[in-house]
């Protein structure tokens, strides 16, 4: 019987292959949608897990999370400088680090932060953390090497922007892989980011004032006038810094800014950034503002308390995981539509195949009648037709799962390369159940033409 099925399929290999491919493609479509949706959910949840609590200024929670967790630049309002100092001093906090968005280098975002974040992200794989203003730690997937030097670039890839030739970073360490967009980030001291932007504004204003912070206020005004060049994020950052500095210009920042001023005058002299970073510049209540602060609470209870405490008029605390969950909730309809489209395609393919197979059985009624006349039991006829259809369908399903898995892997790796979020493509036990369900459905569907063949009268079939 198996030999007969094999011979039959061999003889009709083109048709069988076409149907198999159809089943495979329809299955693959569904598998890719399922796997990719799951990968996106898992991948982003993992990225969000890197930070328990994020504090920003009141505004869009989604943007706050997208910016701090996914490093997608968005115009964020700034937090007052005192907030970071308050969090660092808070006994409920293990560590808290600012996330300041600076420039880019070859498409990698430069993030201004503090050494505690380097540890908080899982530590270093290579080299050491930044200890001086001109030092940088790169994410696991950043295409640079330890020892490299680079100038930060304004704006994002593809956008017009200049290069801060006056600032040179020196790569001193590489983070261990985290599977998050931070694998594509370049971490530098937040003070240097502040510096770069004061300096920037000084350029824009074309003025030389003794108090850099006051001067920045003018610069900012001028800057806002022709906002076409810099990206919005930077604009926001400028106004925030200006806000902080206008009211509380400090000696520390003044001197640092002077350092970069010097740089501007004597390009190529790296000495100004050769200063050590200083923890007290952050705890200084007059420190410039930052768009976001990531916080590691001591306990879950502390996390809830902190979130409560930092939901004020000036600050807003969120659990990134929760925001993402809510975001997925609103995306639920899209998911539903996608899975409906996939199921619809599968149902259509299933129906088309049933039609083809039924027509095929009707066309073969003489052959089937002859088999019966020669003594084949009806059950054998049923088994042959059912076996052939089920074999093609099961082969198609298996190929479809393989194809879908491969497709999802390819999509994920493309997405990871572009965004840094690693999307874990994984089957769960439920998928096995789904495959079993589909095979079962195929088995049931295959029995339709088989019953048709089974019930056919051999005498009538032989008469043609």
């Amino acid at each position: 019987m198996l030999r007969f099925i094999a011979a039959d399929l061999r003889r009709q290999w083109a048709g069988a292959l076409a149907i198999l491919l159809l089943v495979a493609l329809a299955t693959a479509l569904g598998v890719v949608v399922t796997l990719q949706e799951r990968a996106l959910r898992l991948g982003s949840a993992r990225a969000a897990d890197a930070f328990d609590l994020v504090v920003g200024a009141p505004g869009s929670e989604t943007q706050l999370v997208l910016s701090s967790v996914f490093l997608q630049a968005a115009p964020l309002p700034l937090l007052p400088g005192t907030v970071l100092a308050g969090l660092i001093a808070d006994p409920r906090v293990t560590w808290a680090a600012p996330v300041g968005f600076g420039d880019f280098i070859e498409g990698y975002p430069i993030v201004g932060t503090t050494p505690v974040l380097v540890e908080g992200m899982g530590g270093l794989a290579q080299g050491r953390g930044f200890a001086r203003l001109g030092e940088a730690v790169i994410g696991a997937n950043v295409g640079m090497r330890l020892g490299d030097h680079f100038h930060p670039q304004h704006g994002r890839v593809g956008e017009p922007g200049g290069t801060h030739t006056e600032i040179t970073y020196h790569v001193v360490g590489r983070l261990a892989p985290t599977g998050t967009p931070w694998d594509r980030a370049v971490l530098v001291p937040i003070e240097t980011v502040w510096l770069a932007h004061h300096h920037d504004e000084a350029d824009a204003a074309g003025a030389a004032a003794t108090n850099p912070f006051l001067r920045n206020a003018h610069a900012d005004a001028a800057h806002e006038g022709d906002a076409q060049e810099a990206e919005p994020l930077n604009d926001e950052a400028h106004s925030g810094e200006t806000h902080g500095s206008e009211t509380h210009g400090s000696e520390t920042h003044g001197s640092e800014t002077h350092g970069s001023e010097t740089l501007e005058g004597e390009a190529g002299q790296p000495d100004a950034l050769d200063a050590p970073i200083r923890a007290d510049s952050l705890t200084d209540p007059h420190a410039p503002g930052v768009p976001a602060i990531v916080v590691k609470p001591r306990s879950i209870a502390d996390a809830y308390k902190l979130r409560q405490a930092y939901r004020t008029d000036h600050t807003w605390a969120v659990f990134p995981g929760e925001v993402l969950t809510r975001l997925y909730g609103t995306l639920g309809d899209v998911r539903l539509v996608l899975s409906l489209v996939a199921s619809g395609a599968q149902a259509l393919v299933g129906a088309a195949i049933l039609l083809v197979v039924t027509i095929h059985v009707v066309q073969r009624r003489r052959q089937i009648g002859a088999l019966r006349a020669l003594g084949a039991p009806r059950l054998a006829i049923f088994a042959i037709v059912w076996g052939e259809v089920a074999l093609i369908a099961a082969g198609g399903l298996a190929a479809g799962f393989a194809l879908g898995y491969g497709g999802a892997l390819a999509l994920s790796s493309a997405f990871s390369t572009a965004s840094g979020v690693s999307l874990p493509v994984a089957f769960v036990p439920g998928d096995l159940a789904r495959l079993a369900g589909l095979v079962l459905a195929a088995a049931i569907v295959a029995s339709l033409p088989a019953v048709l063949a089974y019930r056919q009268s051999p005498a009538a079939a032989l008469r043609g």
């Binding site: 020669l374 003594g375 084949a376 039991p377 005498a459």
Partner: protein
């Protein structure tokens, strides 16, 4: 199956009467007259019988009833001690598989399989495991009908060769009854004569009862008993 084991349900010889058919009538919807109406027909075991008649006279209808392909609606049709009228479709399938070798006008061989595989196919489909000796018997029969390349794909054979393979297939289970419906109608004269010769010889060798429906006069002339059908009725 050892060649000498007698069949309990199909005595090969000795029984003076093998087939007993009484008052059988077969009607088809849309026809006023019955397609077949036979009051009585008896055939002895080992007899060789021609069923003659013009096209549409009911030859195939009779054969379908005799082989259990069609249910006997009215009357009785008893082979040995098996009354086909009382058997279910599945039981008739089993009875046919064990007792009837069938040769049809259109060969009904299966492309993609070799000559040998075609001969063995009915047995493979009827049971899960080939009986011991089936392969050797199939080889012997193929050699007997003059097919030398037994592994040759069936679709590459000539029509005469194909019908000879079909004859070998019909004999493979050593059936008590061999039924051929127009076995020579789609062959040229020489191939037809060769197939007719083989059918007669092999039926004689195995002692099987042979029934041949045909309007091939040359074939009819070689059979000792001739039944004439006209409009579904036997003529004497």
């Amino acid at each position: 199956m050892p060649p000498d084991t007698p069949r309990s349900d199909a005595p090969r010889s000795g029984a003076p009467r093998f087939l007993r058919l009484r008052a059988v009538e077969q009607r088809f919807p849309g026809l006023d007259m019955p397609a077949l109406a036979i009051a009585a027909l008896d055939i002895a075991a080992g007899e060789q019988v021609a069923v003659m008649g013009p096209s549409g006279s009911g030859k195939t209808t009779l054969i379908n009833l005799l082989t259990g392909l069609e249910r006997v609606g009215q009357g009785s049709l008893i082979w040995g001690d098996t009354d086909l009228a009382t058997l279910s479709e599945g039981a008739r399938d089993r009875w046919r598989a064990a007792n009837v070798g069938l040769v049809m006008q259109d060969f009904h061989l299966f492309p993609g399989l070799s000559a040998l595989e075609n001969v063995l196919l009915p047995q493979r489909l009827a049971r899960l495991v080939l009986p011991a000796g089936a392969q050797a018997e199939a080889g012997r029969l193929l050699a007997r009908v003059g097919i030398e390349r037994q592994g040759q794909a069936i679709e590459t054979m000539s029509r005469g060769q194909m019908q000879r393979v079909a004859v070998a297939r019909a004999l493979a289970v050593r059936p008590a009854i061999i039924v051929a419906d127009e076995p020579t109608a789609s062959l040229d004269a020489d191939s037809g004569a060769a197939v007719a010769q083989l059918l007669l010889e092999l039926a004689g060798e195995s002692g099987a009862t042979l029934l041949v429906a045909t309007h091939d006069a040359a074939l009819v002339a070689r059979l000792p008993r001739v039944l004439r059908l006209e409009s579904g009725r036997l003529k004497d």
